[in-house]
């Protein structure tokens, strides 16, 4: 199944409306935790969407940086859905999400250390031996540096991709949020973010994410609320130019979810930004994407 163009995350609040819309959505991303353990209406909805759109999984429970044993039940469920979707890759985050064997249901930052690189890479290889399809890892947001770190975030991420033989899901909003939260006071967050993107191995980028975020006091929180702001669109265009192709792009809007049309306005906006960035290189019409 080919993943191309601009997609949205399949979210239950607008799933029914999505099946009824005639507006253009090229592909869907599905969070396995919210679907694979459910029969009934959820299963029927997933099947209906699967018949209409190409889909890939984007998980939040892999716990690739954790010390707990990998969750075999979860991996089996991901593997089964991957086979059903015939998806070329599946993704999760560079983070940990459990302690002492207990899931925490959050994406928690690792120390940027050599030890963590080797640990994550080792688990990535193990996971890829158990689940078909390329494992793609997303750069996560972090609000605090964890002690023990000896590397920059960019070096840390690149080392994991190399050692773990993984693809990259480049979340452009996360790059911006991290630049805002960790750049020196009064520094140019956009310049910092652009420099981060310039360090990324674009040939390994399988997907891009764009999303909204929320400022809470002095900190910018990756809430996936609201429309994408212009600086993030600017970074998006920058990433596409660096890639030289329309990397499959996902609009993330996961909280305070509005009517579907509002989310699809963001899909249209992404398409326009891609065209602005790539011009003729962006396969923007339905026809041009047919094999």
């Amino acid at each position: 199944m080919r993943i191309a163009g601009i997609g949205v995350g399949l979210r239950k609040p607008f799933a029914h409306a999505l099946l009824e819309t005639d507006r253009r959505v090229d592909w869907l991303e599905v969070t396995p935790e919210n679907w694979v353990f459910f029969g009934g209406g959820a299963r029927r909805m997933l099947d209906a969407c699967r018949e209409r759109w190409p889909m890939v999984q984007h998980g939040v429970s892999l716990d690739i940086g954790g010390l707990s044993a990998l969750d075999g039940t979860y991996l089996d469920a991901v593997a089964a859905l991957n086979a059903k979707l015939d998806a070329p890759w599946w993704s999760d985050h560079v983070c940990y999400s459990s302690v002492n064997g207990a899931p925490l249901h959050d994406l928690l930052p690792l120390p940027f250390s050599e030890e963590a690189v080797l640990h994550v890479a080792s688990r990535a290889r193990e996971i890829q031996s158990r689940v078909d399809g390329e494992l793609v890892l997303e750069n996560a947001t972090f609000y605090a540096h964890m002690p023990g770190g000896t590397m920059s975030e960019a070096d840390f991420l690149c080392a994991i991709l190399d050692e773990g033989k993984c693809g990259l899901l480049l979340d452009v909003n996360n790059v911006y949020v991290n630049a805002m939260n960790h750049g020196p006071r009064d520094s140019d967050a956009l310049a910092i973010a652009r420099a981060f993107i310039d360090r990324m191995p674009m040939q390994k980028v399988r997907q891009l994410h764009v999303a909204g975020h929320t400022r809470v006091g002095e900190t910018v929180i990756d809430t996936h609320i609201g429309p994408v702001i212009e600086p993030v669109w600017e970074l998006y265009r920058h990433a596409l130019k660096r890639a030289g192709r329309l990397v499959p792009t996902l609009i993330e809007w996961d909280n305070e979810i509005p009517a579907l049309d509002v989310v699809l306005d963001e899909v249209d906006a992404a398409r326009a930004h891609a065209e602005a960035a790539l011009g003729a290189a962006a396969p923007l019409s339905r026809e041009s994407e047919k094999p």
Partner: protein, 263 residues
């Protein structure tokens, strides 16, 4: 700091077992010795404590919405918050699907009811909400898809739960537009058996089961004659036919519907 030390220092904080200051000290040293960067990191560490705590509430508040509402009305928000914290100390999260981590709450409430001065019906309400959730997400059974064929049988999602309080009617009145003075603060104490199932549209249903419905479901499940099951509860053939049609129409019974007189 090695990864093992890192997890040992941060784990209890994220699980809600220790406070922010303690974790910040273990990770970043005493406040007086921290660099400016470490001071910011130590302060922002609190964000992760709040996020993880929020997920513990989310894990219960979707499934147990009415249980929470009733407990807060009976006591207050702080008692609910304490219960959530204590529940996850006793039953740490174990599942990637968030709501699944609430599985033990009904049993936990039953154990804790005395100490927390909770009425017994609240434990039953939690059990009802849990089974409503379980019914909604239960795996699909291919036998249900082959609906109109084969022997009469119970739908795969059918579940019966006995309670000592009349919960379905109470919940209905509570969520209806009935005037506040006709809504009871607590369900009436009266034994009832609640039937849970997923209908043909895959919507979750629950309702109090009548004695005749229970007798019919028992007979179908055990392969016993339907007419004698009806006779045991004093029902006529006509009542049996009506009940069979109702149960089949609702999706509680699947397969080929017989006439009572022929069963």
């Amino acid at each position: 700091m090695k990864l093992a030390e890192f997890y040992a220092a941060i784990g209890p904080f994220l699980e809600g077992k220790s406070g922010h200051e303690e974790a910040a000290r273990a990770l970043y040293g005493e406040a007086s010795t921290r660099t400016a960067r470490q001071a910011i990191d130590a302060e922002r560490l609190a964000i992760y404590g709040r996020f993880c705590a929020r997920h513990r509430f989310d894990a219960l508040e979707f499934t147990f919405e009415e249980t929470r509402r009733a407990l807060v009305q009976l006591q207050d928000e702080s008692r609910w918050a304490a219960l959530v914290a204590d529940y996850f100390r006793a039953h740490p999260m174990h599942h990637a699907e968030l709501n699944e981590n609430g599985r033990e709450l009904p049993a936990f409430l039953l154990r804790e009811a005395g100490a927390r001065e909770l009425p017994s019906w609240l434990c039953e309400l939690a059990d009802l909400e849990w089974w409503s959730f379980r019914t909604r997400v239960a795996p699909d059974d291919p036998r249900d898809a082959a609906d109109g064929t084969g022997a009469l049988r119970l739908g795969a999602t059918v579940e019966l739960r006995p309670y000592a309080h009349e919960l379905p009617g109470w919940l209905e009145a509570r969520s209806s537009d009935a005037l506040p003075d006709v809504r009871a603060d607590a369900p009436a104490p009266r034994p009832c058996v609640v039937l849970f199932w997923r209908d043909r549209d895959l919507d979750t249903r629950f309702a109090e089961a009548t004695p005749l419905e229970l007798a019919v479901m028992h007979a179908v499940h055990e392969g016993l004659p339907l007419t004698s099951a009806a006779a045991r509860v004093g029902a006529s053939a006509h009542q049996l036919d009506e009940t069979l049609a109702d149960l089949h129409g609702a999706g509680i019974l699947r397969g080929t519907l017989p006439l009572a007189s022929a069963s």
